[in-house]
């Protein structure tokens, strides 16, 4: 590493030039980073049966998205309202990519056209007559005379921009349709809601990021002010982030809601790398070491420990690559790349900039010369850096924070049994409480509950009974065979009768029965005739060719209200129902739909977290064992992480928080930050132990010196991510809170539990090692004196 340090000091301009070129290249590739919403591809592996059924069978054949326009007033069936609705419908049907518009006005106009050859809204008596014979579809569109809705269907495969365009045209069409005064028109539905959420999120995100930046600057100025250029770690880590974005574009890793949460983590750990190099080089400068020697010493003493921390942290993230959820795998991969980038940025760019800055100013060297001279005698015979560390920690470059950390460590060592027992007991309780933390499966609860589009959406759900549904895809050589249709009818009725959660079922059978006086014809030709006469929008939604049909089971708000486990139980009950009401031979039935995919994938996102954390811990332990070949050194960083994971579970439960796709990465966050702090502390401890020989003294120096740097980096993350807590979005706010708590706990355990474990485990060994060395020296002396005597 000394050679690497020498190379860095010999080639500063090359390093800066390469960093600039890399940054330009990264900006180029960063432009090709794609944003990916919570879609199926990001949540389910393409090879999984869930994806195959949902995407290939359901979405490709039946999948549509809907924008809903809700009309409320005295009499929505009045001819004036119907005329405006038809105007609106005809306008929207011409909008590119709109598949169909379903409304009572369309039903009335289509019936009028079928009966009288004119597609128009007739007189009020005729409207009432048509509506009276409307059947179940009409009931679903107009639950009473005061409310009705229009549904605008578009294909699921269109882009978000194209969907936004349809939404914009729909909103304009509301004005153009010229609804009578006194009627309230609301554009809502999942698409509209998602668009509003994205807009609101983007708006608040900018303000929060700005606040986070200001708070991070404030934290560094407050806690890292004892060094020259205390704000430098921020641009250094940002450079690493820019390179990471470039790598994302190059490797085509999409930016998802989960991979977004990798950035706080990267900033949190990356800033620590930058601060460790910065703190050490500044320490060397303060001692009056010449810039070139200071840079070499820094690389020599910090590059390897930070690299060990980096490798261990990466081992923690490798566990995430085993997840079945692509989003989580992307998150793990992104963290691994990002950490390497942040390390390279801190090692090469951070050290080079500080070296060049000190070389040019040279002021501290001159100031330190006098001090160095005074100390020269004391250091005589000692070997450079190692000798300079043997003084009192508090009297040599110690900051106020360092002293506080030192005192805390000292206190914990004296009360070590109580500290350890309390920490472990709280971890055990937290671990138990963690199993009681619920999972938030309803994505609508991630957003501000007073967001107007959500209020509208909930209003619509209250009137129309919610929009959660499950789809059964029925496949056969000919699904329109009367025997198959009769089974579909029987199964639908069975679900309606036996399950309270089922509010209604709609399938091709519903419309065939409606057109045939409530029965299914026994003759296949008659069935085909009825199907041919059905509106194209109905056929497109419920039938694909003649070999696949869909039964849409309306669950109201069940998926949102039941929670993950209960909804999972309900789907298992549906599976049993299929065994009870067995499909005819040659007919296969598969269950799918948005609610099911969302519940399964959010469950996979959140419930695998304990396994991933344990796997991460095991991997870290094995890797530490390989690196150090020492059981104690391998165990030391792992035990405090176990404690933090437990504490975080307790905080999640007591804080009334729920697991979301963002907080599901909590284990990785704790492993990443916790292992980082523990390993840096441990490496410095052994370095100082080598220098001073006495474990207590070595621990005091370590706590003082590295403590201030760890507190500075930890508190920078805490201040920065404290800004996220102010977000009106629950998911972001909770993530901010969890990140802050994880960092605080990682810091607390590093200076308490870890210190205690390190000292207790090491003291005896070191004392014995020293005694053994003393014995060997004494024996050597005895042999020498024996030889001399002879």
């Amino acid at each position: 590493m000394e050679r690497l340090g020498a190379w860095i000091t010999a080639n500063p301009l090359t390093i800066i030039a390469v960093a600039l070129i890399l940054t330009v290249v990264a900006f180029h590739f960063a432009q090709s980073v794609t944003m990916q919403g919570m879609n199926t591809e990001s949540m389910v592996g393409k090879e999984s049966p869930l994806y195959q059924i949902y995407d290939h069978l359901y979405k490709e054949n039946f999948g549509t998205e809907s924008i809903v326009v809700m009309i409320e007033g005295d009499d929505v069936a009045s001819s004036k309202v119907q005329t405006a609705m038809l105007r609106f419908s005809d306008f929207v049907k011409d909008v590119p990519r709109v598949l169909s518009v379903t409304s009572i006005a369309d039903i009335v106009a289509d019936t009028e056209y079928r009966d009288n050859g004119l597609r128009r809204i007739p007189a009020q008596e005729r409207i009432d007559e048509i509506l009276a014979n409307g059947g179940p579809q009409l009931q679903a569109l107009m639950p009473d005379r005061g409310h009705t809705m229009m549904s605008i269907a578009d294909p699921v495969y269109i882009t978000d921009d194209q969907r936004s365009e349809i939404l914009k045209e729909t909103t304009e069409a509301v004005t153009l349709a010229d609804f009578p005064p006194g009627y309230s028109i609301t554009v809502t539905g999942s698409s509209a809601l998602m668009k509003s959420i994205t807009d609101a999120m983007n708006k608040s995100q900018g303000q929060i990021m700005l606040l986070a930046g200001v708070l991070m600057v404030f934290a560094l100025l407050l806690l890292f002010r004892h060094v020259k250029w205390p704000l430098l770690p921020i641009p250094v880590v940002m450079l690493g982030i820019v390179w990471t974005f470039g790598a994302m574009g190059l490797l085509q890793i999409p930016l998802t809601m989960v991979s977004f949460s990798a950035f706080p983590l990267l900033i949190g750990i990356g800033i620590d790398y930058a601060i460790q190099f910065h703190n050490r080089i500044d320490e060397e400068f303060s001692k009056g070491v010449p810039p070139i020697k200071a840079a070499i010493n820094t690389v020599n003493h910090v590059a390897i420990p930070v690299m060990v921390a980096l490798i261990i942290t990466i081992a923690g993230f490798v566990a995430l690559l085993s997840s079945s959820v692509p989003m989580i795998r992307d998150f793990g991969f992104l963290c691994i790349i990002g950490l390497i980038m942040c390390y390279l940025s801190a090692l090469f760019v951070g050290v080079t900039v500080l070296y060049l800055g000190e070389k040019r100013s040279g002021s501290r060297k001159k100031r330190a010369d006098a001090r160095a001279d005074a100390r020269a005698e004391a250091l005589a015979g000692a070997d450079g850096l190692s000798g300079s560390l043997s003084g009192s920690p508090s009297g040599d470059g110690g900051s106020a924070i360092g002293l506080y950390v030192e005192k805390t460590a000292d206190f914990c060592i004296h009360k070590w049994q109580t500290v350890l027992a309390v920490a472990l007991l709280l971890a055990l309780m937290g671990n138990y409480l963690d199993s009681l933390v619920p999972v938030e499966t309803d994505t609508k609860n991630y957003i501000p509950q007073d967001l107007p589009p959500l209020v509208d959406f909930r209003h619509m759900s209250n009137i129309y009974g919610g929009t959660d549904s499950i789809q059964f895809i029925v496949q056969a050589d000919d699904v329109t065979d009367p025997a198959n249709l009769k089974w579909m009818d029987e199964f639908s009725n069975y679900l309606l009768m036996s399950r309270n959660q089922v509010y209604g079922t709609t399938s091709l059978v519903t419309f065939i029965k409606q057109a045939n006086g409530g029965t299914i014809p026994n003759d296949k030709t008659d069935v085909r005739g009825i199907i041919d006469s059905l509106p194209a929008s109905v056929k497109a939604k419920y039938l694909s060719g003649h070999n696949a049909a869909m039964i849409d089971v309306n669950l109201g708000q069940t998926a949102s209200n039941l929670g993950l486990e209960s909804f999972d139980r309900l789907t298992k009950e549906f599976d049993k129902d299929l065994t009870w009401v067995t499909p005819p031979p040659g007919v296969s039935v598969k269950m799918t739909g948005d609610s099911m995919v969302r519940t399964v994938t959010i469950g996979a996102l959140t419930t695998g977290r304990v396994e991933m954390s344990l796997l991460g811990l095991v991997l870290i332990f094995i890797l530490l064992l390989i690196i150090y070949r020492d059981l104690i050194k391998a165990l030391l960083p792992v035990l405090p992480m176990l404690v933090v994971i437990g504490w975080m579970g307790g905080v999640m439960y007591l804080g009334g928080l729920k697991y979301t796709p963002l907080t599901a990465t909590l284990g990785a966050l704790v492993l990443g930050i916790g292992s980082e702090y523990a390993i840096l502390m441990m490496e410095r401890f052994y370095e100082e132990l080598k220098n001073v020989g006495d474990p207590f003294e070595a621990l005091k120096i370590t706590a003082n010196r590295i403590g201030s740097a760890l507190v500075a980096s930890g508190m920078t993350v805490v201040f920065g991510f404290g800004a996220l807590i102010t977000s009106p979005f629950n998911i972001t706010s909770n993530f901010g809170l969890v990140t802050v708590m994880a960092v605080v706990f990682a810091l607390v355990t590093t200076f308490t539990v870890f210190v205690v474990l390190m000292l207790r485990m090491e003291v005896r060994r070191e004392v014995l090692d020293n005694a053994r060395d003393e014995l060997k020296r004494a024996l050597r002396l005895m042999r020498k004196s024996d030889g001399l005597a002879r």
């Binding site: 027992a421 472990l424 055990l428």
Partner: protein, 137 residues
């Protein structure tokens, strides 16, 4: 045997507590994964079994569990010799599955020997690690 300084009940309690808490944390994670009730007989049985395996393995291997390492105490034979896995399994059985009984019998019947009943059965004692020659070197 008389030459070996026996560890105090206080040190042994702290070592036991640390071991139980550490294994308890791992156990509660396993309970979450396996969805077995923590307070069920099955759950408690798993905890006792985990503790038994942990103590047998570590104390049979080097005479010290993590808790004992931190407290600097060690399980040894009557004259301070290393114990094997067989002795370790026997003395661990008592503290993993029958601790109240094991402790009370030892405390009342073998008063003054600083031994639990299963220590007595396995002919083991818990000593100060600094007093044990193989542990020192």
């Amino acid at each position: 045997m008389d030459g070996i300084s026996r560890a105090s009940w206080r040190d042994r309690f702290w070592a036991w507590l640390i071991d139980v808490l550490l294994m308890g944390i791992l156990w509660s994670s396993l309970m979450t994964i396996s969805t077995i009730g923590a307070s069920s007989a099955e759950g408690l049985g798993i905890l006792a079994t985990m503790l038994f395996i942990y103590w047998t393995a570590l104390e049979g291997y080097r005479g010290q569990s993590l808790g004992k390492m931190l407290l600097n105490i060690v399980v040894v034979g009557p004259v301070g010799e290393k114990i094997g896995f067989q002795d370790s399994a026997l003395e661990s059985f008592g503290k993993a599955f029958l601790l109240p009984l094991d402790f009370l019998v030892g405390w009342i019947v073998y008063r003054g020997s600083s031994q639990r009943a299963f220590n007595r059965f396995s002919d083991t004692v818990v000593a100060d690690a600094n007093e044990v020659s193989w542990c020192r070197h």
